[in-house]
Amino acid sequence: MKINVSHVAKLANLTLSAAEEKKFEEQLSDILSYIEKLNEVDTKNVEPTSQVTGLENVTREDIVKDCELAQEEALSNSKSTQNGLFKVKAILDSK
């Protein structure tokens, strides 16, 4: 089966050239075919594992920690800031 690379790239916020799309489509399809191996396994009634630690209820108290980052530090790696805020091209679409 083939992956719709153009759709997936959009979902993943990646811009691909037509050539890249083609290349990745082939490579990803190879990987996908290999992955199909999992269909051989009988997983009926098997609980999925999303946590190997076996931990539960790990929480922290509602205490305020001292200011971890000063404003300049927070902004220090951005290419585009203004008056203490991060600046981006206008958001035309809504969420």
Partner: protein, 468 residues
């Protein structure tokens, strides 16, 4: 022997005995880096000034009678460990100019223990790879043979240490990324239990699989380093509150221990040299008093498929924050491998496919975990090869991503199960290092050190050094 060729234990002894200073060691390492890094390409950032300052400070502290576990020892960090004020790139053009605003917990711990952070080390970009060839800053060469890969993704960490540019290095192991390069460089590489060492401040690859570990020349050094980095961290909710041993009982030997050999790991496809070497290891362990038992890990053949789905899915989510707004360059700067994994992971999580892929993989993960649990009812540790082949040539697998993935076939299982694994040198094949791994139950690192130490002392492979 040059100071940069010492083990940590030897260096600490010499420092305590005032035979040399931390500055001496740091200078020796820096000299070695100057001589060989252009060739080997192990380091992305060398902090010469910082290292010498730290070394001077360490000498002062030692003179004042302060005894910290790592005082004055130069250590190099895989460039996905955030270091405050020191550029951290993940070996990717996306972060080529990123200066972190905070230290990773492990980095802070190492600093508190007196370690000298000598520089940031090359790796596969975003830790995606098994050979070091996916770095956006050029591949790292294997110091044992510069036409061959050093293994990845912690490629530079292994190469730098093997080339005596530092006395230890850190790495991460999500599917074998410490054990593979350790094996390819005649080094000891530890993948601790998942959650044993904090992941806070380390660029996440696959959150449920990433293990934070390190490279050393000897097992003793590895134990020393773990006693500093291990421990629960309030910043990382996946670090259990388990006491950290001082890992000093490593000399207990293997007498009476039951060591399992999984038959599935010896299936066809295993290089005959590797098979031979592994069988030699088994024989040696028996000589040393261990009882070797055949065991079965029946779901081994599905491990890579399950790993790939879970890993890519988590990668696709963890790399979403790199949008160029708050830091870094935009997403067009991602390399091919990163793009592949992001897209594959996005696909496996997407509507209509989640059950068939991600959920299925998580279920297979349970089965693999259970395989190990059943096996560990019968044995204390499990031995296996790390790689199905000896180090391959640079460029050999670059154009075949799937082929590259299959080199992880023996290592991904430990990550899926969350168990620790220690890779130790097991000899050479045509001059290229080969290693084996020792796996145990969660939090059984002490036992792994025990087995590893016994084998190491009986074989002394660590005494070999590459000709640079």
């Amino acid at each position: 022997m040059d100071l940069n060729q010492l083990t940590i234990a030897e260096a600490l002894e010499g420092l305590r005995g005032k035979k040399f200073s931390s500055v001496d060691i740091a200078k020796a390492c820096l000299e070695q880096i100057r001589k060989h890094n252009e060739d080997i390409n192990a380091f992305i950032t060398v902090d010469e000034k910082g290292a010498l300052e730290q070394a001077e400070s360490a000498d002062k502290q030692r003179a004042n009678g302060e005894e910290l576990p790592f005082l004055g020892i130069p250590i190099a960090l895989k460039d996905i460990f955030l270091t405050k004020g020191l550029k951290t790139t993940a070996a990717s053009k996306v972060l080529e100019n990123y200066i972190p605003q905070y230290d990773a917990t492990v980095v802070a711990k190492l600093k508190d223990a007196g370690a000298i952070i000598i520089g940031k080390i090359n790796c596969d970009a975003w830790a995606h790879g098994s050979s070091g060839e996916n770095s956006d800053f050029g591949p790292t060469k294997n110091p044992w043979s510069k036409e061959h890969v050093p293994g990845g993704s912690s490629s530079g960490s292994a190469a730098a240490l093997a080339a005596d540019m530092c006395l230890a290095s850190t790495g991460t192991d999500t599917g074998g990324s410490i054990r593979l390069p350790a094996s390819f460089n005649n080094l000891v590489g530890l993948k601790p239990t998942y959650g044993r060492v904090s992941r806070y401040g380390i660029i996440a690859m696959a959150s449920s699989l990433d293990s934070i570990g390190h490279f050393t020349k000897t097992v003793e050094d590895s134990a020393l380093l773990l006693s500093v980095t291990a421990g629960s961290d309030p910043h990382d909710a996946t670090t259990p509150d388990k006491t950290v041993s001082n890992y000093s009982k490593i000399e207990n030997g293997v007498k009476g221990l039951k060591i399992g050999v999984p038959k599935e790991y010896f299936a066809s496809g295993l290089d005959s040299e590797i098979k031979e070497k592994t069988e030699a290891v088994i024989k040696k362990l028996e000589e040393l008093g261990a009882e070797v038992v055949d065991i079965s890990l029946p779901n081994t053949q599905y491990a890579i498929a399950a790993y790939y789905i879970i890993m890519s899915s988590e990668v696709s989510s963890n790399l979403a924050r790199y949008d160029g707004i708050r830091f870094g360059n935009d997403r067009s700067f991602f390399g091919d491998e990163a793009k592949r994994r992001i897209m594959f992971g996005t696909f496996t999580l997407s509507a209509g496919y989640y059950d068939a892929y991600y959920k299925k993989a998580m279920q297979v993960r349970t089965l693999i975990k259970q395989d190990f649990e059943k096996a560990f009812e019968k044995v204390d540790a499990i031995i296996s090869p790390v790689s199905p082949t000896a180090p391959w040539k640079l460029g050999e697998k670059v154009n075949d991503p799937l082929k590259m993935y299959l080199s992880d076939i023996f290592t991904v299982t430990a990550n899926l199960a969350g168990i620790p694994s220690l890779a130790v040198p097991a000899g050479f094949s045509n001059g290229l290092p080969i290693g084996i791994q020792i796996m145990g139950t969660q939090f059984s690192e002490e036992k792994l050190f025990q087995v590893g130490y016994a084998f190491e002392q009986a074989t002394e492979y660590y005494k070999h050094t590459p000709k640079l």
